[in-house]
């Protein structure tokens, strides 16, 4: 499943797209502690977080994440958006809580062959 599909299904607001909305999502990881995400997330994951500052882009880029979704309608900082555009990391915003969004994406990914 690609990011574009998830954006449509879950009404995500795209804040930085790069050229990567066709990127395939192979799994997901939810977390706000950057070291936890560094250690335990996988390449191709969609990362669900409440953090909005620009350091999330470095983590997503180092881990080759498919993209970042910020929860609870929180907006990414301006320099987060700029950096995400440079690094080609899609950043989206969801109105849902981390719990609800994680559940929905888990189900969406489960329906299709990952």
């Amino acid at each position: 499943m690609d990011i574009e599909t998830i954006v449509k299904e879950l009404n995500l607001k795209v804040r930085a797209a790069g050229t990567n909305l066709r990127k395939n999502i192979s799994g997901g990881y939810t977390g706000d502690l950057l070291s936890d995400v560094m250690a335990n997330s996988q390449e191709g994951d969609i990362w669900i977080t409440r953090q909005v500052h620009q350091n999330i882009v470095a983590v997503a880029s180092l881990k080759d994440h498919a993209g970042i979704i910020i929860v609870n309608s929180c907006e990414p900082a301006k320099d987060t958006i700029e950096k995400a555009a440079q690094e080609n990391i899609p950043v989206m915003v969801s109105d849902l809580s981390a719990f609800e969004l994680t559940g929905k994406i888990y189900n969406l990914l489960g329906k299709k062959d990952r």
């Binding site: 502690l33 560094m38 390449e43 500052h53 880029s61 881990k63």
Partner: protein, 148 residues
């Protein structure tokens, strides 16, 4: 960044400066290291491990030290990453190594750093991990990822 030649993958050395307290550029050194290793076409799992340990050591310098240097040395057997800083040092290394222990301030924690996982992540992903520190002077961290 100067171009990297794939033939350098058995003999390469480079140092990167890290400014303490500046979170704007936090991660830029580890991103460069990852990109160098990728260009050298090193195996994915070695690149992944190197990215994690260099990121954690870079964040430690930014979070706690005045300044520091991260040195990347690649030879035919190992990828060695050294993080050398001028800073407060670590009074009790055994305590600092405990997962969950952190001296990070509120600002650092709010950004999602300072969870007390950095050094244990490094230990988990580096094949060799050597930490020495002098209080009031600084900290020296050597991490080696074996290529064979």
């Amino acid at each position: 960044m100067h171009p990297v030649d794939i033939t350098e993958k058995n003999n390469y050395q480079r140092s990167f400066y890290v400014e303490g307290g500046n979170f704007t550029y936090a991660g830029i050194v580890s991103t460069s290291i990852k990109s160098i290793l990728k260009k050298m076409d090193l195996p994915v799992d070695l690149v992944r491990k190197s990215a994690i340990v260099s990121y954690e050591s870079e964040i430690n310098i930014v979070s706690y030290a005045k300044k520091g240097v991260i040195k990347l040395t690649i030879d035919s057997r190992t990828i060695q990453i050294e993080a050398i800083d001028e800073g407060p040092g670590i009074p009790d290394i055994e305590l600092a190594m405990q997962a969950g222990y952190s001296t990070a301030n509120q600002r650092i924690r709010e950004m999602g750093f300072g969870a007390g996982m950095g050094l244990s992540n490094i230990k988990r992903y580096a094949d060799v991990f050597d930490l020495t520190s002098e209080v009031g002077k600084g900290t020296y961290l050597k991490m080696i990822i074996n290529r064979i």
